[in-house]
């Protein structure tokens, strides 16, 4: 004959089992999925290889770039945003890793010079066009003057020939 466990004990065991399973499932849900290559490359394309010249990180074939892409994957898995990852790279490796330089210091020139150059160019073009309009149009060449004694003599001679003189 086996003794039946008291009802309270069964009830507590059931609650403990439910609690444990909930905890296990929660910890399974908390494990974030590994970011895909596309997600990693989406961030990497906004960064440049710190050691190669002008090579975006997503297409850079070196071992160092592979390490940096893996670093991006780790940061994404840890829940970092794109901006946080970019800021981390700037702190570690300097501004040159950014595809678009931040607007401070001499970097301002990158943003200011092109529009200024365009404005100056438009200004010069407008000035040149205005000066062309202002310059006097050359008058058409005057017909040969009949006052010229040589021409008059020629015409008289021709008329005389026509008359048969």
């Amino acid at each position: 004959m086996t003794a039946r466990p008291p009802l309270t004990l069964v009830f507590l065991a059931a609650i403990a089992a439910i609690g444990l399973s909930a905890a296990v499932s929660r910890s399974a849900q908390a494990q974030p999925p590994t970011p895909s290559d596309n997600q990693v490359n989406q961030v990497a394309s906004q960064l440049y290889c710190p050691v190669c010249e002008n090579v975006p990180l997503d297409v850079c074939p070196t071992q160092a770039c592979a390490q940096w892409r893996e670093l991006i994957r780790e940061k994404l898995a840890a829940g970092w945003s794109d901006d946080q990852i970019k800021q981390y790279f700037v702190t570690q490796y300097g501004d040159r890793v950014l595809a678009t330089p931040p607007a401070h210091g001499l970097n301002w020139l990158v943003y200011v010079l092109p529009p200024v150059a365009i404005l100056v160019g438009v200004g010069i073009l407008a000035g040149v066009l205005r000066s062309w309009r202002r310059s006097p149009v050359p008058e058409p060449a005057a017909p040969p003057s009949t006052e010229d004694p040589y021409v008059r003599q020629m015409e008289e001679e021709l008329k005389r020939r026509e008359r048969g003189e």
Binding site: P50, A64, Q67, E70, T91, G94, L109, V120, G123
Partner: protein, 180 residues
């Protein structure tokens, strides 16, 4: 005056802008063409936090010879000299020589793996924002600079050391120039 060009403030401003732009270009190009810091010149002073959290400042190390080695875990030639540098550190650490490893654009786990692989025990830290390598105007890694006790650069080694003897000869020269 007939035939002469009129000066306007607009034209003056354009020329001024152009001149400023050319000057910027000139100084930028001159800086990139300068090459690494040359021996005899004052060595750039810097501070660095090592991987184990120790704060180093070379300005507080006057009177000692300082060997600054730029390296990275992805740099294959760096591996050629790693063990020799560690050996030289062990031979010279009690002779007034400080070794500092500057880890250039690297990832920390790989840098720590590299240090463990070559049993490197002298202080090493990341070159945050590449400030130190820019100050030394390095072209790549490995590069090693030896600073004399007076703060001037005694030697610049571009590329890896070929042997322990070469490192020791450089350090002896630096120590010799200090005692002279």
């Amino acid at each position: 005056m007939q035939g002469g060009r009129r000066f306007t403030w607009g034209t003056g401003a354009i020329w001024l802008l152009l001149l400023a732009f050319l000057l910027l270009l000139f100084f930028g190009l001159r800086r990139t063409q300068q090459g690494p810091v040359q021996p005899g010149a004052p060595a750039p002073q810097f501070s660095l936090t090592t991987f184990d959290g120790q704060d180093l400042d070379t300005t507080h190390m006057r009177g000692q010879v300082i060997l600054v080695n730029f390296w990275a875990s992805w740099c294959v030639p760096c591996e050629q000299e790693a063990a020799e540098l560690q050996q030289a550190y062990e031979n010279y650490k009690d002779k007034g020589v400080v070794f500092i490893g500057v880890n250039y654009v690297d990832t920390e786990p790989e840098a720590l793996d590299y240090m463990a692989r070559f049993d490197i025990t002298y202080p090493n830290g990341p070159d945050l924002g590449t400030r130190i390598s820019q100050a030394y105007r390095i072209r790549g890694v490995p590069e090693t600079y030896i600073m004399g006790a007076n703060g001037n650069l005694v030697e610049a080694k571009i590329g890896p050391y070929a042997s322990l003897a070469e490192i020791q000869a450089s350090l002896d020269r630096a120590l010799g120039s200090t005692t002279e």
